[in-house]
């Protein structure tokens, strides 16, 4: 790796990190504004113009609050919990292609931290580790409500992780790759995967809601039953980390949904505009973020529209509806692929599928 590449990568890593945090920060503001809009209120409008400095004020408040660690709590794990939640939330951005590539001085710089050839699996790996933040935090609090909330959260996340993984299989069968960048590149212009995999998209979207613990799947912090769920005992910035991790997760899941099903940085008529490579790439990134912001809005839209599930309903939907539907989707996709490549009478060679 040359020095230029290294510098670009380092700047890019910092940029991705900063952008994730910034977007998550302003998602909290957006959520309150959206909630206000849905409930015919004004929302935060005191700090700065239109209340734009509200997230900053919230952050300062979180840092200034007294930090309480319960006497009977396991101190190490009590701190480890929110740290893990935050860490795993920030880790997923690594494999997301934020744009195509920039050409500076005749050298191509890919706008992605790293293109792992198992990118999707990496995302699932990180997501599955994300459960620990909640579980450890809930257990270490030494509080029954926290423990129950943590157990709920973990069983919910494990259940929906399965359906999520299955919903992706059909997509991977269509594109023949696990790399996120290659999946994005397989949907040029307006040929987005959502049109060929509508069921897969729906399943993935539902599971993304469950994985980020957003309404209608926010049972882990169901205040009518569990006080505050796994973060009942948390205060100050440790609570802030848990809440903030949720917003980062929301941003990253939106980005993944956009990459997998909505063409990432591709948009229709990109080649007809006659833009230079760099301009097209920058426009692509802007479009990418526009799509991501739409999905973040969608997350909030659902939150303020649909009430939460009951716990048994949640489990029934996960295991008895989503997983069978995902299996049906896989079978249908397999039949379609067999038909498309006319493989009924020939012996199947995987190489024929992806020439």
């Amino acid at each position: 790796m040359e020095l230029n590449d290294l510098i670009f990568k380092i700047i890019f890593v910092i940029a991705v990190f900063a952008v994730s945090l910034l977007v998550a920060m302003y998602s909290t503001y957006a959520e309150r504004k959206v909630a206000a809009f849905f409930q015919d209120r004004l929302g935060p409008n005191r700090a700065g113009p239109f209340g734009m400095l509200q997230p900053l004020a919230d952050g300062i408040k979180m840092f200034m609050k007294e930090e309480i660690i319960p006497t009977n709590a396991d101190k190490v794990l009590f701190v480890l919990g929110p740290s893990l939640a935050m860490m795993t939330a920030c880790m997923t951005g690594v494999v997301i292609p934020w744009g195509s590539s920039l050409i500076i001085d005749g050298k191509e710089y890919v706008m992605q931290i790293t293109d792992v050839n198992i990118g999707i699996l990496y995302v699932f790996g990180v997501v599955s580790v994300g459960v620990y933040g909640i579980m450890i935090g809930g257990w270490a609090s030494n509080n029954k409500f926290s423990l129950l909330g943590a157990l709920r959260a973990s069983s919910q996340m494990i259940s929906y992780e399965l359906a999520m993984g299955m919903s992706i299989v059909a997509l991977v069968m269509m594109t023949g790759t696990l790399s996120v960048r290659e999946i994005v590149e397989s949907q040029p212009g307006g040929h987005w995967n959502v049109f060929v995999q509508p069921l897969g998209f729906l399943l993935f979207l539902i599971c993304a809601f469950a994985e980020t613990n957003r309404t209608p799947f926010d049972l882990p912090e169901c205040e009518t039953e569990l006080v505050g769920g796994y973060h009942t005992e948390y205060s100050s910035m440790k609570l802030g980390f848990y809440l903030f991790a949720e917003y980062i997760n929301m941003f990253i899941s939106s980005a993944i949904i956009v990459c997998l099903f909505f063409g990432g940085y591709n948009f229709p008529f990109i080649s007809e505009l006659g833009l230079s490579h760099n301009m097209a790439a920058i426009l692509g990134t802007v479009i990418f973020f526009a799509k991501v912001f739409f999905f973040i809005f969608f997350f909030m839209w659902i939150r303020w529209t649909i009430p939460r599930f009951r716990y048994d309903q949640l489990m029934r939907v996960g295991w008895k509806v989503l997983i069978p539907l995902a299996v049906v989707n896989i079978v249908l996709t397999a039949i379609y692929l067999m038909w498309k490549h006319d493989l009924w009478n020939t012996t199947l060679h995987v190489s024929q599928l992806n020439p």
Binding site: F124, V127, S128, M135, W139, A150, S154, I158, E161, V350
Partner: protein, 168 residues
């Protein structure tokens, strides 16, 4: 570079594996075990087997160990209620542990003379190659193990249902 990484990873693996045994609190043991699995996934990546590493993290660290943690958190074990094993069990444990050590030592001693295979393909761990091998060369064993898993899954469901059947 990768040599240093190997040493650091191995050190961490050995350390966390030992901490699994030495930790007084069961929850810490489980957490060290999860960490141990991560370091093993790191070894897989050093061997260029990214798919294996990812699956290892998803299945072992992400799913199985969560269930471990789940059970241990529910049991709420602590030092006072730690069950004391009888002397026979302790002796049996020591004997079987010693036997395992003997087997391992003999294996590593005989493996000493093994040379590195020059025909080793560094792409063997890539997902494309792995898929070809699994679905073309070893299709039958793959299908048989899939059937085995299905049977186990149905069995587990049936066993789980028996207890819940009384209420519903």
């Amino acid at each position: 570079m990768s040599q240093y990484l190997f040493y650091i990873l191995s050190l961490l693996t050995a350390f966390s594996a030992m901490m699994v045994v030495f930790s007084r609190k069961p929850v810490y043991s489980v957490l060290y075990m999860i960490f141990c699995f991560f370091t093993i996934a790191g070894h897989y990546i050093l061997l260029n087997a990214q798919f294996l590493a990812a699956v290892h993290v998803i299945v072992y660290s992400g799913a199985i160990m969560v269930l471990f943690l789940y059970v241990i958190m529910m049991l709420n074990l602590n030092k006072e209620s730690e069950p004391h094993k009888s002397n026979i069990a302790k002796t049996a444990a020591v004997v079987s542990g010693g036997l395992l050590l003997m087997v391992l030592v003999s294996v590593f001693k005989s493996a000493d003379g093994l040379a590195i295979n020059p025909a080793f393909d560094s792409q063997i761990g890539m997902v494309e190659v792995l898929g070809m091998v699994l679905y073309e060369k070893y299709l039958l064993p793959f299908e048989v193990s899939a059937l085995l898993f299905l049977t186990a899954m149905i069995g587990a469901t049936m066993l789980g249902k028996k207890e819940g059947g009384a209420q519903s």
